[in-house]
């Protein structure tokens, strides 16, 4: 991978990159290779039949569509929250700051159960939504709710440190040059936040695509309507169909990898454009 690099006076390149690659290889790449090698036991036709069956295709649409939407929702509201936590003081702030990480700590199954309890037709929130004709639990909307829940910390926690490190001088300069608050935000602050925001978006999206534990409780799991792709893998596994399971896994892996690569490329590009070293 790393062949040419511009000369740097800093030490430790060989050690740090070497260690990174070895650890990455052992923990991530070798086990992942097993998935690809297992899939290779299928012929191309068999592979294609598995990954393009109508139910599986419907599950891609739901999994990737809901994940993108959830990540977008999180990007907007996550940034608002990060902004509020860094810039404003309000009662209960410390507690809220602490609770942002909750979706990580709560086992996904617990999150799924708690969300279902809230949004079921007889739940705290569901009982008010049901008369309005809004069905959350046991419907595709429930998938979205669960994915928003598990993805939120990614955006907040990537944007927050950047906001905290932001020097006020930049904004002061902008203000003294006559920019209004919105202009200052849009032309000065936002471009600095954008790389972190994109990272958060990418992570929230990536996490959502593979999510299983929480979604399974709230989705309803009706074929063609509310089945997510990880469920398609599980169903195949439970029929001892390792090859079919790995085939779908490969599609998910490749698709997420390409999307992540694109988003990381975009992030690098925005970072470069705003004049930051990379």
């Amino acid at each position: 991978m790393a062949k040419s690099r511009s000369y740097s006076v800093l030490p430790g390149f060989g050690l740090s990159l070497g260690y990174t690659l070895v650890y990455l290889g052992l923990i991530v790449l070798i086990p992942m290779a097993a998935v690809f090698i297992k899939t290779a036991e299928l012929s191309w036709d068999q592979f294609w039949n598995v990954v393009s069956s109508p139910r599986v295709v419907a599950s891609y649409k739901l999994s990737f569509g809901a994940s993108l939407l959830a990540a977008a929702i999180n990007a907007v509201f996550g940034m608002l929250l990060a902004w509020a936590l860094v810039r404003y003081s309000f009662p209960g702030k410390k507690i809220i700051d602490a609770l942002i990480d909750l979706p990580f700590a709560l086992p996904t199954a617990v999150a799924g159960i708690a969300l279902t309890a809230l949004y079921a037709p007889n739940g705290w929130l569901g009982q008010y939504l049901e008369p309005l004709g809004i069905k959350v639990a046991f419907a595709p909307l429930g998938v979205l709710v669960a994915l928003v829940f598990i993805g939120l910390p990614f955006v907040v926690r990537t944007v927050q440190p950047i906001l905290e490190d932001l020097e006020t001088e930049l904004e002061e300069a902008a203000a003294s040059l006559g920019a209004n608050r919105w202009q200052t935000f849009w032309y000065v602050v936002f471009p600095i936040l954008l790389p972190a925001l994109l990272t958060g978006f990418a992570l929230a999206f990536a996490r959502a695509v593979g999510e299983y534990g929480s979604v399974i409780f709230i989705a309803g799991n009706i074929p063609m309507v509310s089945e997510i792709t990880p469920l398609m893998i599980i169903t195949r596994l439970e029929q001892y169909d390792y090859n079919g399971a790995t085939a779908i896994a490969v599609v998910m892996l490749v698709f997420s990898f390409v999307l992540l690569l694109a988003i990381n490329g975009l992030q690098a590009w925005t970072a470069r454009r705003t004049g930051r070293t990379l």
Partner: protein, 298 residues
Amino acid sequence: MSIVIGKQALVTAAPGSAAQTRFEKNRATREPVWVKRIILGLGLTFFTIFLLMPLLAVFVEALRKGLDVYWQALRDPDAIAAIKLTLLTAVIAVPLNLVFGIAAAWSIAKFDFRGKQLLITLIDLPFSVSPVIVGLMYVLVFGASGWFGSWLIENDIKIIFAVPGIVLATIFVTFPFIARELIPLMQAQGREEEEAAVVLGARGWQVFWYVTLPNIKWGLLYGVILCNARAMGEFGAVSVVSGHIRGLTNTMPLHVEILYNEYQFAAAFAVASLLAILAVFTLVIKSWVEYRTHKLGH
């Protein structure tokens, strides 16, 4: 800079840290009151619906049958075994990922090389790998009919359906957290300070210890907290490789599932609430460290 104090009335008692006062007292970094209200209103509503209410649901359910049932659930020998196993897993997984995170961030942020984007993407990949697939992967490698399966059986070494498998799955799932927290931060900070230190004669570890580390410590801490929280809460991947043996290979999240499936809803949520409390506890430590450093700084 003119500091307008009169309009601060809206910001009530809550003693904000120096940072907020810095922002809110400074006209250049302050929004109009109505904008602030909208941001706070939207942010907090979102927070309430998506985070606070599920959390409240957990605690309400946990305490539904009273404190006695709550304590009983946590004192159950199987629960204690699960708590110990979860802590053990976190204690192994987090430091390993911490070292990796620093190494990866250092090489990526401080040097230019080809394939960097690819490397970053590969580091992200474990996020997008479904926990279900993670379990499957380790079964394919270490399972009885997997790559090392027969060798492991011959030598009587257990990886999956034992503690090593649980630790491995946890490491995989929490793999990117610290690296991903540090990379953007270290990129944003550039490399001038370190270069200056080297020019002034500092050695490798000195540069890292005295120049880089102080700059990244908050990001690092966030990363560790996230990594730790996720390590303790992971369910799907661990579920596949654990074997679910009561009192032996059940982690806390798996124990929650067992209790839930036994219709012991209150006990299930009690153990779940403990996980939530553990997460909040780590955040308290963070705040305390922050406060100490702040005080020492002055």
